[in-house]
Symmetry: D3
Subunit: 254 residues, 6 copies
Amino acid sequence: MILRIDKIAIDLPQPKNPSPNSAAAIQELMGGRFGEMSTLMNYTFQSFNFRGRDKLRPFYDLISNIAAEEYSHIELVAYAINLLLTGTTKRGTDPTTTPLASSVDARNAYHFIASGQSALPIDSMGKPWDGSYVFSSGNLKLDLLHNFFLECGARANKIRVYEMVDDPTARAMVGYLLVRGGVHIVAYARALEKLTGADLKKLFPIPDISNKKFPEARKLEEQGLHQIMFRLAQMTIDKWLKFGMDRIQKTVLN
Amino acid sequence: MILRIDKIAIDLPQPKNPSPNSAAAIQELMGGRFGEMSTLMNYTFQSFNFRGRDKLRPFYDLISNIAAEEYSHIELVAYAINLLLTGTTKRGTDPTTTPLASSVDARNAYHFIASGQSALPIDSMGKPWDGSYVFSSGNLKLDLLHNFFLECGARANKIRVYEMVDDPTARAMVGYLLVRGGVHIVAYARALEKLTGADLKKLFPIPDISNKKFPEARKLEEQGLHQIMFRLAQMTIDKWLKFGMDRIQKTVLN
Amino acid sequence: MILRIDKIAIDLPQPKNPSPNSAAAIQELMGGRFGEMSTLMNYTFQSFNFRGRDKLRPFYDLISNIAAEEYSHIELVAYAINLLLTGTTKRGTDPTTTPLASSVDARNAYHFIASGQSALPIDSMGKPWDGSYVFSSGNLKLDLLHNFFLECGARANKIRVYEMVDDPTARAMVGYLLVRGGVHIVAYARALEKLTGADLKKLFPIPDISNKKFPEARKLEEQGLHQIMFRLAQMTIDKWLKFGMDRIQKTVLN
Amino acid sequence: MILRIDKIAIDLPQPKNPSPNSAAAIQELMGGRFGEMSTLMNYTFQSFNFRGRDKLRPFYDLISNIAAEEYSHIELVAYAINLLLTGTTKRGTDPTTTPLASSVDARNAYHFIASGQSALPIDSMGKPWDGSYVFSSGNLKLDLLHNFFLECGARANKIRVYEMVDDPTARAMVGYLLVRGGVHIVAYARALEKLTGADLKKLFPIPDISNKKFPEARKLEEQGLHQIMFRLAQMTIDKWLKFGMDRIQKTVLN
Amino acid sequence: MILRIDKIAIDLPQPKNPSPNSAAAIQELMGGRFGEMSTLMNYTFQSFNFRGRDKLRPFYDLISNIAAEEYSHIELVAYAINLLLTGTTKRGTDPTTTPLASSVDARNAYHFIASGQSALPIDSMGKPWDGSYVFSSGNLKLDLLHNFFLECGARANKIRVYEMVDDPTARAMVGYLLVRGGVHIVAYARALEKLTGADLKKLFPIPDISNKKFPEARKLEEQGLHQIMFRLAQMTIDKWLKFGMDRIQKTVLN
Amino acid sequence: MILRIDKIAIDLPQPKNPSPNSAAAIQELMGGRFGEMSTLMNYTFQSFNFRGRDKLRPFYDLISNIAAEEYSHIELVAYAINLLLTGTTKRGTDPTTTPLASSVDARNAYHFIASGQSALPIDSMGKPWDGSYVFSSGNLKLDLLHNFFLECGARANKIRVYEMVDDPTARAMVGYLLVRGGVHIVAYARALEKLTGADLKKLFPIPDISNKKFPEARKLEEQGLHQIMFRLAQMTIDKWLKFGMDRIQKTVLN
C-alpha cells in the first residue's frame, strides 16, 4: 500500500519559453528504457517478488525504499514536461483559428492529439514504455547488478538530455535526478559489496563526469541531498505515526 | 510523493496446489489492457496532468485517491501470482536433476526463465504492459468516461478469470478487486453525474452479474468494504500526522 | 460479403498547398488508437462475433451498419492524406537531382520511403495500427459502452487535428467525420438506453464543443446529414435489388 | 464505399468437437503476417493509393476486386473460429462452478478473457495483426510482385493449418480459401505478365502440392470456383442496379 | 562460424556536412523491413535451417554466401550513418554550454540520447528492427521467391533514400548497395529458374530504373562489380588456407 | 566483412526424443532479451560504432572478437532447436492424414506454421527479437558494464533452460554456451578493471553456481575451453593467410 502526499519533490522554475521539442526529448527520462518509469517499476516488482525477506531484510528495505522514491521521480518528470508544454499553443473556443497550428511541425504529435499537451508514458520518439524493461530475476545478486547498471544508463541519458536542453525548468529537474540517481548508484554498489565483498567504487562516476559540473546538481549536493537515503517504505503504520515526518524522510545512508 | 506501507491489502489464503497456468491467466489482471497496471497508470498520469486543480478539486482528489489505491492492487495481484507459482518446481543445487522440468509445458515460460517464478508486468499471453494503454486526454469529461469504461472492462476480465480459476488464493484476490473496482465504477459514474447531470446508474452492473454472486466479494461487502472510499492521497504531511491512520484510510464515499 | 462502390463519401477540395506534416498529423485519424481503422475493425469484429442475432437483431443491425460505413471513412482519410502528399516532391527520371530532398526533414519518413507518398495504416508518429485496439468482449452492454467511448475519443482527436491543420482538404474531411461520428455517438447512446434505460444525453457533447463551431460540419448538418443512419449492411441480395439505392442509403434513424 | 451483404461465403459444417487449440491455430489465417487481414488491408490500401487509374484501369480493377473479396475471407475465418470455440465451456449464472476451468490450459487465453470465445485480429501466438504488414509502395510492378508473394506465403500457411487440424469446419474453410487464394495467385501472375511479359506459370504451385490433394478444395474446383473472378468492386451505383446480382458476382476471369 | 576481417566493403568519402536528418533517413536501409538487417538475418536463418544440403547444395551455397556478404552491408550502412552524425554537435567537458542543443529538433532523438551519435538497429522512424521480418518457411521455392521480392523491395528503398539525400557519403554507400543488391536479385531469379524453369528476367528492373542512372553505381559496374558473386561462405578451413584470398573472394557467378 | 566457415562450434548429440516444447523454451536463448541474438548484435553494433580505435585498440579488439564469436552461438542454438524439432511430425504427401496434428497443442505455433519446424529469431513466448535490446551508448565504460551485466543475465537464462530440459542435445549446447559465456564475463570484467582499476572478481559467479556443476560444461573446461579467447576478428587478410588457422583460433586469454 501507499499513501500519496500532494507534494512535488522540488519546486521547478517556470520555463523561459514553452518548448514542445524539449518536452519531447525529456520524455526519454520518463518512458525510455532508462527512464523513471523503468526504475520505478523495476524496483517495485523486485520488491513485490522478493523472497527471503527476513534473512535479507536490509536488501529488501533498500529496494523498497528506492522504489517508493522513484514514484516522486515520474511525478517530477511529468511536471517538467507539463511546464514546457504549457503555452505552446493558444487554445480558445474557435477551432477555425487553427489554435494548434504550431504543433504540426512538433516532434511529438501525441502531446497535441492524445494528451492535451501533457506527459505520457512514452519515450523521446513516442515509443510507449513497456513491461519488457522490467528485470526481476529472483536472483538478488543479479537484480542488484542490473539495478546498478540501470542507474548508470539512466545517468548517461540524464546528462545527454541536460546537454540538449538549456531551459531552467528542465535543468532543475535533471539536476535533482542526477543527485538522487547518484545516491542510488552508490546504494546499489554498496549492497553488492555487502553481498559479495566486491568494491565497485573505482568504476565511479559513469559516465566520467562529476555531478559538480552541473550547477543545479551541485547546489543540491551542497545542501547534502546526495548523502540522504529516503526511507519512504517498509515502516509499519505505528512507526509512521510515532516518528515525525522529517525524521522519517531523512535518514542518512550509512 | 508516496509513502509505502509494508502491508498487503488483504490476507490471501495459501493455494491448494501450485498452478503455473492459473498464475499465467491471472497475469491478465496485472499487465493486460484492463489490468491493474492500466488502472494505476491511467489515474496516475491523469492526476499528474490535471489542470485546474483549484476549480475542479473534488475531481482531482477522486482520481488521485483511486490512483493511490491502485498501487495496492498491483501489489495484491503480484502476491497472488507469487503464491500460485511457489512450489511449482523443486529447485535445488543440482541442475542435472532437471528441477524445472515441469515448466517446459507451462503456458508462460517467462515465469520460469525470466522472473524466477514470480510476477511480471505482462498479460495472460506474455505480452508486456505498455504505455499506449494510458489515456490522459486533458479533457476531464472524456477522461472520466474512459475511466468508467476501463473499470467496467476490468470487471469483465476479473469475472472471467474467476470463472477460470477455482483456487482460493486467486478467488480471494479477485473477490477483493471486484469490490474495490465496484466502488471505482460508482465513483466515476457519480463524478460524471456531478459534471454533466447524466445518471448512469441504470447501466449497472456491467457485466450483468452482481458481486453478491461471488462469495469472496459478498463477504467483504457484508463488512461494508463496498461503501468506503479510501483516501490515500492528497493529504499534506501535517494532516497525515494530525489524523489517525484509521480515519485517513476509511472515509465513507458520499 | 461486401460489394464495393467506386465512390468516395464526399468530394474534397484540392489542398491549397501540399503539406507532408499535415498529412503526418492526419494519419492519427487513420491508424491511431482512435482512428477510423479502429472504428472499422471494432465494429466489424463485433458483428462477426455477435451471438444471439435473432433476439438482439436491432443491435446487430446497428453495429453491422456502422461497421460498413466506417469503410468509407478509412477511404476518405486515405484520400485526404494522398491529396496532401501529392506534389510535395518533384519526381522525375533523374535521381541525381535529389527529387525527394524536401522529405528529409518531414515528420513521417514512411510516406516517402515506404509508401510512395500515400496513406498507410499507421498513426501520427508512424506507429502501425494494431489488433489490440479491437475490443470485442462478447458482452453487448460492454461492447456498446466501449463503442460510445471510442467514438467520443475519436471525436476529440478529430477536433484536435482540425485545430492543427487549416488546409481546406483536411477540414472538409474532418467536418464530414465529425458529423458522421456524431451520428454514431448518438446511435450507441440510444442503443445503451434501449438496453438499460440509462439516458446518456446529458453527457453530450464530448468534448464540450458543438459541431456547429466547425463550418464544414455545420454545412453538412444543415443538409441533414446528422439525422441519417446509413443502411449499408444486413440486406439480403434480393432486398438490395428490390430497393432503389437512394432508399437503401438514407433511412432516417429512429 | 461498401455495401455489406449478410451472407457468408460458404456454409461451414458444425465442428465435430469444440477445440480451442484448433481455433488458436486458425487465428494465424486471420491475423498473421500472411493472414486474411493482411490480404484485405494490403489490397485495400493499394487501391486507395492507386495513382493513374485511367491509364492502368485493369490493374486498379483487379486489386480493388480482390480487396473486396478478401473481406469475405476474414468473415469466413472468424466464422470458423467462432464455431470451434462454441461449446468449449459451459457458461451459466454461477461463477463458483468455474465454468471456464478448461480454458486455463488452452493456448490462447485472449479467447476466454478478452473476446468471449470468439475471433480476434491476432495470430496463432496471440500477436496482434499490425499495419506494418501492409505494403503499398506506389510502384505497381513491385506491389504486384508483393501480392504474388503474399498469396504464395498465405497458401503455405493455409496448407499447414490444414495439416494441423482435421476438424471438418476448419477444413471446409481452408479448402475454400485455397481455391480462392489460388485464383488470386493466378490473377497477380497474369497481371505481372501483362505488365512485363514475364511468364510465372512455371513457378506454380507454391508450395509444390496441388489443390486437388485437398478434398474440400477439389470439390469446389469441380464446381468451377477456381475459374471465377468475383467482381465485387468498381461498379458505379447505376451499374449495380442494372446488373442482376448473379451476373455481378460471377464473371469468369479474362 | 565466421571470421571477421577489419575491412569495410568500400571506402566512403567524408560528408560535405554532418546531417542528422540524413542519417535518420538512412536508418531505413539498416533496420527497416527492407533494410540490410533483414537481408542479413533472412538469409542467415534460411541457411541455418536449410534441410537437404547435399541434394540441394548449390541453393544452400547461394543463400549462405549472400548471407555472409550481407554482414558487410550492415557494416557499410553503419559506417555511413556514423560519418553523417560525426560533428553534428560539439561535445566538450562543460554540459552547461548545451553542446547537444542542435539535436532537440533532429528527427531521431535516439541518435543523441541512446547511441552517442552512431548507428542503431532501427528504421527511419526509430522503430526497432524485429525478428518478425525474417521469413524462413522451410520451403525452398517459397524462400527464394521471398528473397527475390525482398531484394526488389530493398532496391526501391535504396533508390528513394538516394533521391532524398545528396550527400556523397550516402550516395557512395547506396551506389554500392544498388550494385550488390542487383547481383542478389539476379542470383535469386536464376535460382528460381533452375528450380522451376520460370524465367523472371522480363521483370527487371524493379523499380523500372537502371543502376546506370546512379553515377556511383555506374562507376562500380564499369569495374565489373555487378558480375561478381562473392564466395564468403561454405568453405572448409582447409580450403580457406589452400586458396588465395583473392580467388576466394571473387568468383564470377556461374 | 566476414568469411563464413561451414562448421558448427561443437558437435551435438542427436536428441533422445523430438520435443517441440523444449525447442520452444530454447528459443529464449536465441531471441530473448538475453539470447545470443542480443549478444551478437550488441557487440556488433558497439564495434561498428567504436570511436577512438587507435587509442583504445585492445577494447575494440575485445568487443570485435566476441562479436564474431557470438555468430557461432546463434548458429549453435539454431542447430539445437532444429534437432529437437526434427521428427516431431510425420510430413508426407497426403495432407488429409493431418500430419501436423500433434503440433496443435505445442507451445510455439510459429515453429509449425511459419518456419517449417526450424529456428526463428524469437523468444520462448514467440516474441520477436528486436533492436531495442541493443545498447551502444558511445561510452566505453558504460558499454562494458552493460556487456558484463548482459552476459550475467544470459548465464542465468542458460542455467534455467538447462534446468528445464534434460535432452542431451540441449544440454550439450547449453554446456558449451556456459563455458564460452563464462569467458566473456571474465573478459568484460577484466576490461573494466583495466579501464578503471575496479576488481569485479568477487562478484563471480552470477548466478551463484559453478560451471563445474554442469557435466557438459565441466568436460569442456577440463579441455581448457574456458581459458581460450577466440580471435576471430580484426586480422588483416595478409595475417589470415600467414597464420595457420589453429593459431588464429586459439589464443589464450591473458
